[in-house]
Amino acid sequence: MTDAAVDISRVEKRFGDLVAVRDLDLRIEPGEFFSIIGPSGCGKTTTLRMIAGFEDPTTGRISVGGRDMTGVRPYRRPVNTVFQSYALFPHLDVFENVAFGLREAKVGRAEVRTRVDEAVALVQLQGRERSRPRQLSGGQQQRVALARALVNRPEVLLLDEPLGALDLKLRTDMQTQLKDLQRSVGVTFCYVTHDQGEAFSMSDRVAVMNHGLLEQVGTPEEIYHRPASSFVADFVGTANRFAGRVEGVEADRYAVAIDGIGRRTARGPAGLESGAAVLVLVRPENLVLNGSVGDGGLDAHVVDTAFLGAERTVRLHSPKLGELTATARGSGEPPEQGSRVGLSWADDDAWLIPAADAAS
């Protein structure tokens, strides 16, 4: 197995009594766009800072490119960071900002020139080399920060919520640019954000953290369609949940008895045992509304609808299942408020979460 770009092994980080990160095991593969997401205070920024070297793990070990980084100061790590506030040096122009790391590495003048020009071109800021940071817009400053980090050809590029200060349109543009950039340059990116959509649109894999614990790591699809816990399910989207109990395993499906409804088939993670308490997860877009109630089927009445343009959100109440949310296409007739509709979903669209995790 090749060395991971970043290998975090049984890392815990304490600040006095506060445990910011606990029992973290994570591998970031070379060349991938990896994101860590989670709510404020979940430990994602702390983790990033530990990889960069600004914090040391209380216990555990972090390796970069196979080399143990314990005790190694930030200025000796093959890692560079793009800071949330950009942290551009105000007294230096763009050229000198980008060249900073190269100068510290005592790179020769000619090479500095070439590499800085390259980096500046990469972020499309040619012609602004003599400008001071305060003369640049937020988006431009952000790109200088990016160039400044990339010019050093780090093994891993760390990005700490770099797009937070930008407005929506700029943010979406930058997301596309970052993704293309990462693909073309091939450097491992480790990206931290609280914005799930942002992470999903750019990343190869995503890690979800909560209160210092790693909840799940996987591709965006895996995380969305096969969440490991209720927390993850809610963090990346809305979900309808029904309590139930596993009754058996059939081929690659589970048989579940859903409270109030009866036996259904669903998918789930491996290893669930008969009798285990579970939650059945059905995403709103997979909840099908029928005009009439089919035989043996479920019904609910419409509480409210909201038209969002491409979609329509429908809030429902079912006597057996409680509050539900469904998403329908924006076109077509909206269901009438108060009307009774039939509910169904495909078996493949139901996913099981162990109920023990429900408390998270």
């Binding site: 600004f54 040391d56 793990p57 143990d68 005790g71 190694v72 100061r73 200025y75 000796r76």
Partner: protein, 306 residues
């Protein structure tokens, strides 16, 4: 946190047990940080705290009348000397003069600061410069110029006589000239903190007050005044405390006749040689100041947000 700025970097290539390097790095970091604090410690402890402590100690000492040696022995004689009418009068007058001048300074300063705060930003800057530039000129020269101005036959005297006054103004070398001198020197110091407080007031507050039925005077009383209090108190501290210990102004504008606490204090050390008494005086001044500071600080509403 775990980073040391200015400390010696310890590189680790192999992976040692986690505890060892961490402990060593913290020690080096702390050591370096203390090194950074050393100059400040030297100047504050050695040259500020210790001398003051020494003075406090010797305020309980006495002077041998025969050989003029100062020796230390616990006596409160120096403090009791204050009760003698000679010193008590002077000191009391000194305090009254400082206090009244500070109050005058506060009223005038507040009016000026209020006026500035009601101007356009450009006009504000201009006015501030106009107030501060005199402050940048030599203190002693400014004070001396008042000798010229206030003396009989000087411009103010002639101006007053032209207005019909009989006799001379006879201001120079009295309490009044000292008061004017103190007012003059400290006015900018009073204006600035008050202005800073006033400038912070969101103009929308006036609109809000007006909307709720407050007349201009009521707006002033209920919006401006309360919000200016922190700046006012800061100004009173910055002016009142040094004013109590003024030396130069009474020297020049008091003509050696009217003495304040600062002059008496200097006298003890530079001429009379009665160090213990001087020390007692110094300690008393400090005590008065601390009481003043304490009461003023209590009166100050919650610290203004930075």
């Amino acid at each position: 946190m775990d980073r040391d700025q200015g400390g010696v970097a310890i590189e680790r290539v192999a992976a040692p047990p986690p505890a060892a390097p961490r402990r060593r790095r913290i020690d080096t970091g702390r050591f370096a940080r203390l090194g950074l604090l050393a100059p400040t410690l030297a100047i504050t402890l050695v040259c500020f705290i210790v001398p003051l402590g020494l003075i406090a100690l010797y305020s309980f000492g006495s002077v041998n009348q025969v050989d003029f040696n100062v020796y230390f022995g616990w006596t409160t004689g120096n403090y009791r000397a204050f009760t003698s009418s000679l010193y008590l009068n002077t000191l009391a007058r000194s305090v009254i003069l400082s206090v009244s001048t500070t109050l005058a300074c506060a009223v005038i300063g507040f009016t000026f600061a209020y006026f500035i705060s009601r101007q356009s930003p450009r006009a504000q800057r201009l006015l501030l410069v106009a107030v501060i530039v005199p402050f940048w000129t030599s203190f002693i020269v400014r004070t001396y110029s008042w000798v010229d101005l206030l003396q009989n036959l000087g411009p103010i005297d002639r101006f007053a006589r032209a207005l019909g006054m009989n006799g001379h103004i006879d201001i120079l070398y009295t309490q009044w000239s000292i008061g004017i001198g103190i007012l003059y020197s400290y006015l900018p110091l009073m204006i600035l903190p008050i202005y800073v407080s006033l400038e912070r007031i969101d103009p929308a507050l006036f609109d809000a007050a007006e909307d709720l039925g407050a007349t201009p005077w009521r707006q002033f009383r209920r919006v401006v005044l309360p919000m200016a209090v922190p700046g006012l108190i800061a100004g009173i501290i910055i002016v009142g405390v040094p004013a109590l210990g003024e030396y130069v102004i009474p020297e020049i504008l008091g003509g050696g006749k009217t003495l304040m606490a600062g002059n008496i204090l200097a006298d003890q050390f530079l001429q009379t040689g009665n160090y213990p008494f001087g020390s007692a005086l110094a300690v008393s001044i400090m005590v008065v100041l601390m009481v003043l500071l304490f009461t003023l600080r209590r009166a100050q509403p919650a610290a203004d947000p930075q």
